[in-house]
């Protein structure tokens, strides 16, 4: 019982450093199927490589708690608040008194879900928010507004209407103002997707540069440059909300999209081996936390080869 030849020659330090290089490459840079094959080749070289990678990957997964340290975004409102404080201080200096106080920072509550996680938040006003995988939301507000910052991920809102205190969801430069509603919001990059399930809502994109009123079934996609609306059937809406039941629903979905969807929920990633495989389509309802089952189905239905490796499931023809 001994280590395989190559591993003996390399110190733990060297191996760990190579594994860390792979891990950061996979997490922070473009990652192609050929990168994956290179990594697979490296992993296959020795058990020590595989262990070092698995260990770093598992440990890195646990560093997700650091997200709790995230500083509040310096978005426009924070900036205005700071400017107001600065202006206030100038006035105070001019008056020569400290009687004025800086505006009290409204208390915010932050909720974070890990990859694969899900959380329901019940608000005092009877509203309810379901937070999907790998998401982050801050809730706050003042006398005139109820405010939610969706900093990351996806959330489904069922809002109890209060004309005197409208509910506003902000995601980057965009916002949704509820007018008595059930709606789904997802954010990523400079983009916000809003799907209205029931009631009425308005989307102000890009700091209010463009606005649109939504009807039930409308999905609005707001980016830095565009605002697009598509209409969905009630069945589409149900499918899109499948995650609240722990499932992902595919209807004629390409494997590329399906893999991306599974990878939102699982640290064990599905990797598509080629463009040909990526374009294949699949239908079905799958448990979102079980990429293995999905791979098995894809294997049987689409006659693919499935390879399990440390941290990934590779689908090839």
């Amino acid at each position: 019982m001994s280590t395989s030849g190559e591993a003996v020659l390399k110190s733990q330090m060297e191996i760990e450093s190579e594994a860390a290089e792979w891990l950061q490459r996979r997490h922070f840079w473009d990652w192609s199927a050929s990168d994956q094959s290179e990594l697979d080749a490296w992993l296959a070289q020795s058990t020590a490589h595989e262990i070092a990678f698995v260990r770093l990957m598992a440990g890195y997964g646990r560093t997700d708690r650091l997200v709790a340290l995230r500083a509040p975004r310096m978005d426009r409102s924070a900036l205005t608040r700071l400017l107001r404080i600065a202006a206030g201080l100038a006035v105070v200096a001019a008056l020569g008194t400290w009687a004025m106080q800086t505006p009290s920072t409204p208390t915010e509550t932050r909720y974070v879900t890990p990859v694969g996680g899900r959380q329901t938040i019940m608000l005092a006003d009877g509203s309810r928010i379901d937070l999907n995988t790998d998401s982050e939301i801050r809730l706050g507000g003042d006398r005139n507004h109820r405010l939610a910052f969706l900093d990351k991920g996806e959330a489904y809102f069922q809002i109890r209407h209060d004309a005197s205190r409208p509910f506003v969801v902000r995601a980057g430069a965009h916002r949704v103002v509820d007018l008595g509603t059930k709606f789904l919001v997802r954010t990523g990059g400079d983009r916000m997707d809003v799907t209205l399930v029931e009631g009425r809502a308005r989307v102000d994109a890009n700091g209010g540069a463009r606005s649109v009123d939504l009807l039930p079934g409308d999905e609005v996609i707001a980016t830095a440059r565009q605002l697009t609306t598509v209409h969905k059937t009630s069945q589409d809406l149900g499918n899109q909300l499948g995650w609240r039941r722990g499932v992902i629903v595919f209807r004629h979905t390409t494997l590329a999209d399906a893999a991306a969807e599974f990878n939102r929920y699982n640290p064990n990633r599905i990797v598509i081996g080629s463009a040909e495989v990526a374009a294949l389509k699949i239908d079905g309802t799958f448990p979102s936390d079980d990429p293995d089952s999905f791979a098995e189905i894809a294997q049987v239905i689409l006659h693919l080869r499935v390879e399990r490796r440390a941290g990934s499931i590779v689908l090839t023809k």
Partner: protein
């Protein structure tokens, strides 16, 4: 991301209850077992190695050899008592080395029975450990060199991709990669409790 497109008739096909393939289990079950049962023993294992091996520079390599032996053995059969198995492997390895190197008398390797190893951690404590993670991670983050810490904060906490980190920091992609890799190693070593191992930083 998957956009479920409209105008597609519902095929009504749902997830059939297929039996999990044998091959599927082996690899991922092994990894799961290793992460769940072996890695949490690392702090205790490192303490044991430091106490029982006179050259601290060799401890990380010893740990690697122990992990490899444990992992290779578990490929054939996952041991029922992981902790006992890991420490038995460690002890045997040390004894082998002693015989081979003739550097330390065997008696300095204590019996497994006398080892101070934490018992199976009950679940309430696991929760406490999880809470403790943040405090320790934060301390580890503060210990990183400033540029390395900045890259980790932008990448792991703010969620920026590598290229955006490079732009924000005004450094090359390669420099960002290096910072991220070093930062990840330091944080993970902190998590698995390799306290004051001077090889931990590079």
């Amino acid at each position: 991301m998957a956009r479920v497109m409209t105008h597609t008739p519902d095929t009504g096909r749902t997830f059939p209850d297929l039996r999990r393939l044998e091959a599927a289990m082996t690899s991922s079950a092994l990894v799961d077992w290793f992460v769940r049962e072996v890695l949490p023993l690392e702090a205790a294992l490192m303490r044991y190695l430091r106490q029982n091996w006179r050259n601290p520079d060799e401890v990380a390599d010893l740990r690697q050899d122990i992990y490899v032996q444990v992992y290779d053995a578990a490929r054939k059969q996952v041991p029922t008592h992981t902790k006992a198995f890991v420490f038995q492997t460690a002890r045997n390895l040390l004894i082998d080395r002693v015989r081979h190197d003739r550097v330390v008398p065997i008696e300095t390797v204590p019996d497994l029975e006398t080892l101070d190893v934490p018992g199976d951690v009950p679940s309430p404590e696991r929760a406490a450990i999880a809470r403790d993670d943040l405090r320790r991670l934060r301390a580890a983050l503060d210990k990183l060199p400033p540029r390395c810490r900045e890259a980790v904060v932008l990448g792991r906490i703010e969620g920026l991709p590598g290229r955006a980190i490079a732009v924000r920091m005004g450094v090359s992609d390669q420099a960002v990669s290096k910072h991220l890799a070093n930062g990840i190693r330091a944080l993970v070593n902190e998590i698995y409790g390799r306290e004051n191992d001077r090889e931990g930083q590079s």
